[in-house]
């Protein structure tokens, strides 16, 4: 029985992380219709930025109030969104709106290559550590196992992010406009929506979420070059499973992948590598556009 509980807890922790890194991807795709390979790089930049910021925090007497390091983590993600988001969206991506989806994948692939080296130029190859926030929340004992309190903070963060995105989209005027753009950007434009501003806002939100994923992960890893590569594929899979452009889809996709992966590690470790593709193949077999795809009924 405690095996099931362990699988669920492990799965939830992983799913929380997956959701944070993939929800931004699905949001950006929904609004801009761009599947952003550089999302992984933004994640890595978030990790570096938070490592740097938290480092600065503790170097300047942060030890007195260690809790402030959490604010530093989030501030790092905000900074990345404010700086990198507009540079990429205004400086590059806006020239590609309405172009072929696959061509746009290639554009972001180029961005990914460029950012990999830019990060190296900024932060070098040596790892950054910011483990203080990781241990700050103490341990949690569940059955025979210890978990780190921080793991549950990640779950909480995922829930807050999910609720935040959902409420913004469905309960604010701004959000409803964004939903309209997701549904039909041409129509929204004719109806007087300032689409470029929505695009910029959505891309910055996506950047913030990617960077937040990296920032929250940074305390439990060493931040090194090449960090973003592995994130891209899993985030893609989650988003494809959930349906491109769907926020609830990303949540369900993350849960499915997280829990099946945990089950696999505990019960059948050999299959772990394939589990994500397996889930994806099964979902797409029955729902070719993912679980919560935006409907594409076409008037003829």
């Amino acid at each position: 029985m405690d095996l099931v509980a362990t699988i669920l807890v492990d799965g939830l922790i992983y799913a929380g992380w997956l959701f944070i890194v993939s929800v931004g991807l699905t949001l950006v795709f929904g609004v801009l219709n761009i599947l952003n390979i550089a999302h992984g790089s933004l994640y890595a930049i978030g990790a570096y930025a938070s490592a740097t910021l938290v480092g600065i925090y503790f170097a300047n007497g942060g030890d007195a109030i260690p809790w402030g390091s959490y604010a530093a983590l989030i501030l790092a993600a905000v900074l990345v969104a404010l700086v990198v988001g507009p540079i990429l969206e205004r400086g590059l991506l806006r020239f590609f709106y309405g172009r072929d989806e696959v061509l746009n994948v290639l554009v972001t692939y180029a961005v990914f290559l460029i950012l990999e080296d830019v990060m190296k130029l900024i932060w070098g190859v040596n790892p950054y550590f910011v483990y203080e926030p990781y241990t700050l929340l103490g341990d949690v004992e569940i059955g025979p196992l210890f978990y780190v309190g921080y793991d549950f903070a990640v779950i909480a963060a995922a829930i807050i992010v999910g609720l935040g995105v959902w409420l913004t989209l469905n309960r604010t005027r701004m959000g409803k406009v964004v939903l309209a753009v997701i549904h039909d950007s041409e129509m929204s434009q004719t109806m007087g929506v300032n689409v470029p501003r929505i695009y910029l806002g959505a891309f910055m939100a996506g950047t913030f979420l990617a960077a937040l994923g990296g920032a929250l992960t940074a305390p439990m890893i060493s931040v090194t070059p090449g960090l973003g590569v592995n994130v891209i594929i899993v985030a893609f899979a989650v988003v494809i499973i959930g349906g491109l452009g769907s926020v609830p889809g990303a949540a369900i996709g993350a849960l499915m992948v997280g829990i099946s992966r945990a089950a696999s590690v505990h019960l059948l470790p050999e299959a772990e590598l394939f589990i994500i593709y397996f889930v994806m193949a099964v979902v797409l077999m029955f729902r070719p556009e993912g679980l919560f795809a935006k409907t594409q009924a076409r008037k003829i």
Partner: protein, 439 residues
Amino acid sequence: MTTKTKIGGAFAALTLAAGLATPAAAQDDTFKIGVITFLSGQAAESFGVPALNGGKVLIDMLNQGGQLPAPYTQKGFGGMTIEVVEVDEAGGATKQVQEFRNLVQREEVDAVVGYVSSGNCLAIAPVADELKAFTILYDCGTPRVFETGSFDYVFRTAAHATMDNVSLARYLKARDFPVESFAGLNQDYAWGQDSWADFKGSMAQIYPDAEEKTALFPKFGAGQYGTEISALLRERASLVHSSNWGGDLQGFLLQATARGLHERSQLVLAAGDHVIPQLQDKMPDGIFLGARGVNGLAAKARGGELAELTDTLWNAYEAEYEAFPVQAPFRMWQALLGLKTAVEKAMAENGGKKPNDEELAAAMEGLAWDAPSGRIEMALAGGHQAIQPNAIGTTKWNEAEGRMELVDVEYFAARCVNPPEGTTSQEWLAAGFPGAQCD
């Protein structure tokens, strides 16, 4: 037809560009080496850049001349200035084969020193022979390079990875560590898979009664080990083995120690020394680890005849890069010192000319020389594969001086932990280490 002509024109232009881009060949008073190691990606931080930095420190000292103790007092390689062409090893074996050909045929380097990745080593070896290009594989671990092929122009100046895990098992025995069961967490690629197989094989000989528990292989660069750590905590094995390196090892250690895995199971790390400078006191005490040779802290702690050579390079490295050298620079040093020895031996035989690839290969075969990591002997694979001594120690944080120390270090002779000539490492493990010479 105009289409074809234009495309043809483009093709011709490319051909011409390719034909013109021929650089000047190296001159007789310089010795040009191509150095290939990871400058980007995960392995850059752990292996590539420290090795390159170590190489630069050594080459600078050699090019000045007289900076190192005997027998390395002569300037450069046999008086020739050493020139380096750096190439990034990232990008896969396909790219590396192409770059290797470019180095040899376009850049016309006199020797190639490189390759951390075993896959790259396997891919390069036949190409080096085809091009008759003298090549030193300085770091990669897989025993398969010379066990499944034989190459005239290829030499590996570091022992292969079997030694790491045999040494771990012998260390456990030497310290009388009780092992009822053992589990593993290794990266899901050849390095991690081979390492686990070697460790299992060694344990089967030395601890035949120990039970083998779960073997986990998270993806390379996974970053998140929460689920795996839960599984390992549940297993309650006496030992948890890992050959992870770099960010994967750092991430695993941070997450595992936060959840007390090291208190439930003894952690044994096949190649763990290189994360100490980064982790510092975050690396828990009491972990058994190796450095793939008597490298890093184990070399420093050894002292003895090689202390002067070791300390000279150690201090120069520390002064330049503000961190102590771990395993990667040591392997670069042993490769470059071996190359120096071979060049000078070949020049002694050919009358002082710059040696060609054949002369270098002849000089390198079966060579033995001293390096900071001990005496390196090209004893296997017909004199093409090195063996070297190894050491395993236990971590202990020195609070007073704020640095990590290695205590309870056991040194193993090269012939104690490496298979003898003519036996593959898998046969040697399966047969219970026949011919091992431990004192």
